[in-house]
């Protein structure tokens, strides 16, 4: 019995193949996501600020060399000891010499401290995000792909970590190890308490991916678990992981600032925005700029990362499902 032949199939579908047979290079999903991201003005502004911030952090020594003041250098000449250490000049000493003024009492240059503070903030938040992403991805994939008992144990652990009053625990932990390398300790502690957020998203995505038929197709071809995890699952998880990571960084910047504000963050000679805010509390009526500047830095940084993260999410998952 002859099978009726239907309408011939279109040879070249899709938007990329307007000239049939002309272009043969495919457009990958990351390329398409980048095109969508470029159209998102808020996300591009976020990306711009984030890039600038990274450059500032990297070139902090150059910037302080231009300005002429190290962040830890005391400048007794810039303050008025008769008034209890209030900076000389208006607006907390803002002027050609000290671009953003000086700290009261010590006379340290605020611009230099902010620039180095960006370094500390980014180092700790990116480091902690790295720890959280690695732990969360590994445990999330194991829980989602292996399932069963592994999922039960990892799932319960994540629930416990999520319901933990982690800030209090972090304060206790840092206080217990006063002589440890503070930035490293902060990275490990923040990352450890944060991986369950990443883990939960990776687990969910893994479960939904593992049910797709391409995983079965790979198994039908004799692929090992290793191949399936690294070649089939991970490339599809990269997008969601990038989005969570971008949205996690600002959270950790805030956590680091909070810990430093509370006195258990970065140790005093090293500048940090949270620590500066803490010091500024006593002076906000006298020198508002001392309080406003690090606050503004935190605000802009956190906002930019969030705008970028939201934009990335929209670009990578256009339907807005998942994470």
């Amino acid at each position: 019995m002859a099978v009726p032949v239907g309408v011939p199939e279109r040879q070249a579908p899709g938007p990329t193949t307007a000239a049939a047979g002309g272009r043969v290079e495919g457009r990958s999903l990351p390329q398409m996501a980048w095109r969508r991201l470029r159209r998102d003005r808020a996300a591009m502004a976020g990306l711009g600020v984030v890039s600038a911030l990274v450059l500032i952090a990297i070139f902090a020594p150059v910037l302080t060399w231009l300005n002429g003041y190290s962040p830890t250098q005391f400048n007794p000449g810039a303050i008025d000891p008769a008034l209890g250490g209030v900076p000389k000049g208006p607006l907390g000493g803002i002027g050609a010499e000290h671009w953003l003024g000086v700290e009261p009492k010590s006379g340290r240059d605020i611009f230099s401290r902010l620039v180095y503070g960006a370094r500390v903030s980014l180092l700790i938040s990116v480091g902690a995000t790295g720890v959280a992403v690695v732990l969360g991805t590994v445990f999330g994939i194991v829980a989602g792909y292996v399932g069963g008992w592994a999922d039960a144990v990892i799932g319960r652990t994540m629930d416990v970590l999520l319901s933990f009053p982690s800030l209090i625990f972090m304060i206790a932990l840092v206080a217990m190890l006063p002589n440890a390398n503070r930035p490293l300790l902060l990275i490990v502690v923040i990352g450890f308490f944060g991986w369950s957020y990443v883990g939960r998203i990776v687990r969910g995505q893994t479960i939904s991916l593992a049910q797709r038929e391409f995983v079965e197709a790979a198994r039908a071809l004799g692929a090992s678990t290793r191949y399936i995890v690294f070649r089939e699952l991970l490339p599809n998880l990269a997008g969601p992981i990038l989005v969570v990571a971008t949205l996690t960084i600002p959270t950790y910047i805030a956590v680091e600032a909070a810990l430093s504000f509370l006195g258990v963050g970065v140790k005093p000679p090293t500048p940090s925005w949270g620590q500066m805010l803490s010091d500024a509390v006593d002076w906000y009526q006298v020198i508002p700029s001392y309080f406003v500047l690090p606050g503004l830095c935190l605000f802009i940084t956190v906002l930019s990362f969030n705008l970028l993260g939201d934009g990335l999410r929209d670009a990578i998952e256009p339907r807005g499902d998942g994470s």
């Binding site: 099978v3 199939e9 047979g21």
Partner: protein, 357 residues
Amino acid sequence: MGSATTNTTSSSTADTTGDAAGTGGVLLEVTGLRKHFPIKRGIIFQKQVGLVKAVDGLNFTVRRGETFGLVGESGCGKSTTGRLLTRLLRPTDGQIVLNGQDISYLPQRQVRPIRRDMQMIFQDPFSSLNPRHTVGSIVGAPFRLQRVETEGGIKRAVQELLELVGLNPEHYNRYPHEFSGGQAQRIGIARALALRPKLMVCDEPVSALDVSIRAQIINLLQDLQEEFDLTYVFIAHDLSVVRHISDRVAVMYLGHIVELGEARQIYQHPLHPYTHALLSAIPISDPDVDQARERILLTGDVPSPLNPPSGCPFRTRCWKAQDICRTERPPLAEKATGHQVACHFPEDRALIPASDR
């Protein structure tokens, strides 16, 4: 279309052993195949609260070079059967003998080399292709995974495969989302064909496609079968699709085969009431005949496989059910040569008019 262009340099050992085993015309032999899924509650201390008998005692053989249709409603266990045959699932009970070799309980490590001989085509063409891989990488994966060397490299082998399934070999670097459903399914077929398997399990390969594309894909599968001497197990949820391609057909209901026979027997002399119902749902080309003919409309849903009915699984929806159907399950018995049916009251009813046969 070109001839078999890909030469696999590694000699297929299963080939020789299979022929030596003297199975003759039979490629696949399934006896008493069962797959039960336990339903568990609890997190660490799990206890079983139910048992889904997805596949509950199948017996059939598939001959070399034939197309064996497996038909039934969703939830009847036909896809589970397909996954058991390709050992993506481990059977609970029963035997699967492929090419003279019992593969039913082989550990995955030992199944791996046998996978060259059995491949699968999936229902959803997009879900079965990894969106992050290029067509070249997808169709080339079988060679890499099975460490098969090809003359002229993998890229050339892939391009030949693409051409074979009717795709432009220039599209090697494209991604799945740049293709239409029918084209994506062709990519899946090329991948399954890469290692020249003997058995191809097609799990509803055209169900997700546009009606206009279905015939093309079925024609392609038929051409490939002829060219490469393939044996198909063709899973579908209605008899109209299977009809053009199948040599023999098994009708499944709730994990059981209720009728099995040559395609001609099933379409012209159906015996089981469930087969009658499926046949009466096939659209007929002549609208006058279509209007006039008898329609059998089943009421209700397939019963839950968690709690299947006693006796005959179909009795809850059968208009002929008697007391005996509740108490005794009818065995799959041969009523004519090669035509088996599991019914207490089989009846030959012609439901497809002669003009449409």
